[in-house]
Symmetry: C2
Subunit: 114 residues, 2 copies
């Protein structure tokens, strides 16, 4: 692996390294939860720039890093763009029903607050 390649490889936990507390923490922020909701409805990976978030670029980067390091999303480079995808299969296998119940609850809460 060249330095150039290694600098573009992003660290992700293996499924066995994904901790429930870390996933719950990642989902406990409203901005991160809105990202996860959108990724859950997407058929392809989405670029960070896809999300019109009410926060600075560095805060956005932080949120995506928390999501990646907790095992909630997988980030892969396509050219110079980082694409994000929900690790649904990994999460569903580790924590059956958890992601779906959070997504359902988030949708219900968003509807209540509109």
């Amino acid at each position: 692996m060249t330095d150039r390649e290694s600098s573009r490889t992003l660290a992700h936990p293996e499924p066995a390294g994904i901790r429930l507390e870390g996933v719950l923490h990642a989902l406990s922020d409203p901005v991160r939860l809105s990202i996860v909701r959108e990724l859950a409805g997407a058929e392809t990976g989405l670029a960070c720039s896809h999300f019109p978030l009410p926060v600075t670029k560095s805060t956005t980067t932080h949120h995506f890093r928390v999501l990646r390091e907790s095992g909630v999303v997988r980030q892969t480079y396509h050219g110079t763009t980082k694409l994000n995808a929900l690790r649904r299969a990994d999460l569903d296998e580790l924590f059956p029903g958890l992601l779906d119940s959070v997504l359902t609850a988030a949708a219900a809460e968003a509807a209540r607050r509109q």
Copy 2:
């Protein structure tokens, strides 16, 4: 209400004030999650002192306050003792399936790590 009584009334959110993000945050700490797991298996309210936690008394108090203020537990005074109970009915109505999936995931994770 006398001052003495009012000083012993603990603030709890109404069900409509319970936020998903707050509940997920409350559950995202391993100590708080262990408290919730034990309360889920208890038939009666449990005193804070019931829990042999690996933290200081003031940290314990903090954890119970986070659980109460997020709407996860109800704390009531019985004499000089605060008893804690899971607000399971409120949580199940607001966020169907969420608490059960978290409890199942926490049990599975605890089993994996033994």
